[in-house]
């Protein structure tokens, strides 16, 4: 077990290192950010001074070395556009992204679990076939386009919900979130629904597959034979067993919601980290691009590490397979 954790941790560090190298070198190949920072009328001398000041005249590898040293100290440099540390800019935006992703995860589970169980228990019913056809449509629909359609319908045409920005924040148990105010809820609803639709189909299909498998097991037949009520068989005996695969993928699903929130945040102008990176790419704000990419990669590497370790606790076969 210790060997497995150690091996996976080393692998994570290697991945992080390679990624930081790719990201840093890649970003240093595009455009010249110097013209973003100075006024068009500045003299050659001023340009050169700014280049020196930011260390842009040094060789790329030397810049990377300094960068790596600074990153390990938590310093990603100042945003070229806003002049504040890139790291704090991103960390300040992360709660909005996490909030959106968590709420979306909640919505998708609330719909996907019952629908998936139903479609799995009664696979031949018309409704089940309709649910499954809908799920193909669900994962075929590009997230950004669905978002635009939601804005058109609920915000522009019907005028029920706001389409941009994050609403008023409320504080509950020391956590600041827009989920605690009515205005905040009305703002988060559309983006969260948009993001949830994307995951709903895959969780639904997973639940259905799990249900079909578990429903044939002897312990379900035995539970029925004992004369337990259908609701008890489903809610206790079946649900507990299909939750094992569902819970293990939730970690990864949550990660992909965070990644995909880039799209939803852009459509709904949600002030999260995803919107920040898109804006940074437009403005060639190198420190912010690099910092975001490295933080998000670190976030994923960490998430995967935890999922791997948890999984190896639940299923010893993974450990044996992983260590050869």
């Amino acid at each position: 077990m210790t060997a497995f954790i150690l091996q996976r941790s080393t692998q994570s560090i290697v991945v992080l290192f390679v990624m930081s190298l790719i990201v840093f070198c890649g970003v240093n190949l595009i455009g010249d950010p110097i013209y973003m920072m100075i006024s068009p009328e500045s003299t050659q001398a001023e340009i050169e001074r700014t280049i020196k000041e930011f260390g842009l005249d040094k060789p790329v590898l030397e810049q990377y070395w300094y960068f790596l040293k600074n990153v390990l100290n938590g310093d990603f440099g100042l945003s070229f556009v806003q002049g504040i540390p890139a790291l704090s800019l991103i960390l300040e935006r992360f709660p909005a992204t996490i909030e959106l992703a968590l709420f979306s995860l909640f919505i998708s589970l609330v719909f996907a679990l019952p629908l998936g169980i139903y479609a799995g228990l009664k696979p031949d019913r018309k409704i089940s076939k309709f649910i499954m056809a809908g799920s193909i449509l669900g994962f075929s629909m590009p997230t950004f386009w669905v978002g635009i359609m939601l804005i058109m319908l609920f915000a522009v045409h019907l005028g029920w919900l706001p389409s941009t920005g994050r609403g008023e924040l409320g504080t509950f148990l020391g956590i600041e979130s827009s989920l605690f105010t009515l205005d905040g809820l009305s703002h988060i609803f559309l983006p969260a629904l948009n993001l949830a639709l994307f995951k709903l189909s895959s969780v639904l299909r997973l639940t259905r597959a799990g249900t079909r498998e578990v429903a044939l097991q002897d312990y379900i037949k035995f539970a029925r034979a004992k004369g337990l009520s259908e609701s008890r068989v489903v809610n206790v005996h079946l649900l507990k067993n299909i939750l094992i695969p569902v819970v293990t993928v939730i970690g990864l699903e949550f990660g992909s919601l965070v990644a995909f929130s880039t799209v939803t945040e852009t459509v709904f102008a949600w002030p999260g980290a995803g919107k920040l990176i898109i804006d940074a790419v437009y403005n060639l704000d190198r420190p912010v691009i690099v910092a975001y990419l490295i933080i998000i990669v670190a976030f994923f590497v960490f998430l995967n590490l935890i999922v791997d370790i948890l999984y190896s606790f639940l299923d010893p076969r993974v450990r044996i397979k992983g260590s050869d």
Binding site: I22, I136, S140, M149, A259, T262, L293
Partner: protein, 295 residues
């Protein structure tokens, strides 16, 4: 294989495929889409990128509206006065070519690494499969985002990003079936004839790994088209000079709040129909080649 056998095989495949009427319909629909994309310049009512005919006077006409000279725009016009129907036909061409091209490159790269991993085994195999595992643990949008945010946008970079996103799926599939194949007798026989490794992999193992690769290819191409649209919409993918469906939708997004729904709805519907039809065909192919579901 004799001609007769080939014919029999094809009709067997078709009869398996046509069991699912929805998939047949989807295939038929996709062929129409493909036809429209290939002959976009012939069947489009106007050339949307010919500056001599496009005029800002016609901007944002609603569907079925006429301009001053009496031309009817079935799906309306966009902010620059371009006919939406023609723009969608041209956009389909760009979206499909980027999707299919990246799919082909990814198939080549993935099949190469997958089959060679299975064939040579050992450390090489472990290394390749570890890279595949690591990459598949990242969501596709994140991998593409890293490439495009770090290297900038452009046609080649978008294709590179899509290839990087997809190759791991092909590699995993190719390795799984090549592992089974390389233990069979005909591979031993080929080795006894002291054929070269490359020749054994290419002309003996590869042909037998094709069916599962085709399934992955259909589903991945649909995914690539959708991902390209998303990236182009975000302004990270294709440049404005290559107006794919994603860029058309992005342009229409500017007019969402003014109620000019048609500029973003119609390209989106075209995109959706393309993706759904490919997915339906892919789903049926997967069921066909899945031995567990054989009756």
């Amino acid at each position: 294989m004799s001609n007769n056998n080939k014919h029999e095989l094809l009709s067997k495949i078709w009869s398996d495929f046509s069991e699912n009427k929805l998939a047949v319909g989807a295939l038929f629909f996709f062929i129409i889409i493909l036809f429209v994309a290939i002959f976009a310049s012939v069947i489009s009512p106007t050339d949307p990128y010919d500056l001599s005919t496009v005029t800002i006077m016609n901007s944002r006409l609603a569907p079925m509206e006429e301009d001053f000279s009496g031309n009817v725009y079935w799906l309306g016009t966009d902010g620059a006065g371009r006919d939406m129907l023609s723009a969608i036909f041209y956009g389909l061409r760009i979206s499909l070519s980027v999707g299919v091209l990246s799919g082909i490159f990814a198939l080549i790269v993935g099949a190469f690494f997958g089959i060679s991993a299975a064939y040579f085994g050992g450390r090489y195999e472990s290394l390749i499969m570890r890279i595949v595992d690591i990459q598949l643990s990242f969501p596709s949008i994140l991998v593409a985002l890293i490439i495009l945010a770090a290297f900038g946008k452009g046609v080649e970079k978008t294709i590179l990003a899509l290839v990087l996103v997809q190759w791991a799926y092909y590699a995993r599939t190719a390795r799984a079936s090549a592992l089974v194949e390389s233990r069979k007798e005909y591979v031993d026989a080929a080795r006894c004839l002291s054929l070269g490794n490359l020749r054994i992999m290419l002309s003996h193992i590869l042909p037998n790994c094709i069916p599962p690769l085709i399934v992955v290819a259909t589903l991945q191409t649909a995914h690539a088209i959708s991902l390209e649209a998303t990236l182009s919409f975000l302004g990270l993918g294709l440049p404005q000079t290559e107006p794919s469906l994603g860029l058309l939708i992005g342009n229409g997004f500017e007019y969402v709040h003014t109620g000019d729904y048609w500029i973003s709805i119609f390209p989106g519907i075209a995109l959706l129909f393309t993706i759904v039809s490919i997915n339906l065909v892919g789903d049926q192919l997967r069921d066909m080649f899945n031995p567990r579901l054989k009756k």
